[in-house]
Amino acid sequence: MPSTESKRRSGSGWAQFRRIVSFKRKHLCIPYILFLALFVIIPIIIILVYAFTRTTETGQLEFSFDALKEFFSSTTKLNVLLVSLFIGLVNTLLCLLIGYPIAYLLADKRVNKNYVMVMLFIMPMWINFVLRTGATRDVLYMMGIKGGQHPYLATLIGLLYNYLPFTILPLYTTMIKLDKSQIEAAKDLGCNPAQTFVHSILPQTVPGIVSAAEMVFMPTMSSYVISDTLSEGKLTLFGNSIASSFNNSLWNDGSFMALVMLVLIFLTMFITNRFHKDETQERGRLW
């Protein structure tokens, strides 16, 4: 558009000012950008600053690797990290093991035609999770599984209860989109049910499995209330460990652990991004 271009150039200073200030649709995202910069980016920068500094006696910050050395030389902290990774893995596997067949059955028109059933599986997500965690603990206590005596078992049951709905939903959304004709074709070509599952159903549901695992693994590692309540403080997960560092005013150590958590999150994101492109929408649909 050469004509408008020349008109713009010939405009007076005032007109130019008006043109810059005048409303455009893209200006709508300015408050949003400011919000993200202030409350998402700056906090992370501050965490980074604290992770690589040390507080001197006078309260000044000074560049140092103390927090890093402290973390990698502390057997308790490394232990907590390992235990959290292990619990996260076990919980993810348990959720998938139970959630996968349930999602398959719910999506199978020959078994279930009622959408209310799906809602019933998702509904616990809408009941306050602290209340649900307390209920699980009290009922387990009543049944004789006391968190103080069986911290791992009680915590795992609590985690499973909390994260099962989060596994079922993404799995269900991939299951209803299964290509039925491909499954039929596999059967017609002589696959037995097991072969059909391995060669047709499983590959088709990989994106669902990946996003379900993603919904469970990292949140489990960083969970705070569930492990604290169900194990009666006997089992410390990485999330509890970060929080207690901050509560004891060990900001530099706490920040470094938060940084470790961030690195782990971005690593898993990097790995899982290769499995599904539409991850963001999958997550959005969850609620």
């Binding site: 995202c29 409350f39 279930n112 901050f246 938060a258 959005g284």
Partner: protein, 297 residues
């Protein structure tokens, strides 16, 4: 030959029935197991015993106790207020952000979207602590030590959790929208703001609504961010703001769930059940509508 066929048919039908029964059994078994803790709490909400497991006679008194318990009522009020205020603000901010980003250059949109993704994948505890550290930093280096923790910090905390999800639920609606609509509104004499209000906003309304609902659920269920970023204010007055999550956590840290909260669980369960049924009805209706529409075309 015909006999063979009927035999085969019978076998297939038998298999189908078998599959259905087994499938239904598995679904119900897991469902019942999932609801045991909530159901036990609901059952014991009709007796006044201090612990679940002991039954001291049927009564509705716990429900009366619940409504007379000022602590729980304040927490409930706070929870609802925070959910509504933060969701409304997040919805406006996120929707504007999504519209703005949609009409920005591709490069800047991509940068914005990757920043938007950070709170979505980040652990809640890291979000909570990074915000708290920033607030303390702000408090001690800029405000000179006066307390910054209040309702506003809590509000910001909740909005950080919600806004990215609002953005993500509005974005697909913008992509599906017919770009000619906005142009048509301009041609028909609207100025830019009017065109935005009359053409764009109605088109993306379903996305905005689902973003709002999502925000509400995120806010209602939040514990960690609330626990770290809260200060005095709202219905709690001079004391630190208690929401349902923080109150329940404080109680269950000391002992079993207080009896009145069992009654509360029943009420929450019934509310959620009603919402679930409404959602199903609404969904079935829209599915039917689209089917009819397709047939008509």
């Amino acid at each position: 030959m015909t006999q063979n066929l009927t035999q085969n048919e019978r076998k297939i039908r038998k298999n189908a029935i078998l599959r259905k029964t087994i499938g239904q059994c598995v679904i119900w078994l897991v469902l019942i197991a999932m609801y045991i803790p909530i159901m036990v709490l609901i059952a014991y909400s009709f007796t006044r015993a201090a612990n679940i497991g002991t039954w001291t006679g049927f009564t509705f008194l716990l429900y009366a106790d619940l409504f007379n318990d000022a602590e729980i009522m304040v927490a409930l009020g706070n929870t609802v207020l925070i959910a509504l205020i933060s969701s409304a603000l997040s919805t406006v901010l996120g929707t504007c952000g999504a519209i703005g980003a949609f009409y920005s250059k591709r490069r800047s949109r991509e940068v914005l979207e990757s920043v938007n993704q950070i709170p979505v994948v980040n652990a809640e505890i890291v979000i909570a602590l990074s915000l708290t550290v920033m607030f303390v930093f702000f408090q001690s280096y800029i405000l000179g030590g006066s307390n910054v923790f209040s309702f506003w910090t809590l509000l910001i905390g909740h909005m950080v959790l919600q806004v990215p999800f609002v953005y993500l639920s509005v974005k697909p609606k913008l992509q599906q929208m017919d770009p000619a609509l906005y142009e048509a509104a301009l041609d028909l004499g609207c100025n830019q703001t009017q065109a935005l209000w009359k053409a764009t906003i109605p088109e993306i309304m379903p996305g905005v609504a689902s973003g709002f609902l999502l925000s509400i659920t995120l806010s209602l269920d939040d514990f960690i961010v609330t626990a770290f970023t809260r200060g005095a204010g709202l219905l709690s007055g001079d004391k630190s703001i208690e929401t349902l999550s923080t109150l329940v956590q404080a109680k269950i840290k000391k002992g079993p769930i207080p009896p009145e909260m069992r009654a509360l669980t029943t009420l929450i369960f019934l509310t959620v059940l009603a919402v679930a049924i409404l959602v199903t009805i609404y969904r079935n209706r829209t599915v039917k509508k689209t089917r009819k529409g397709r047939k008509g075309a």
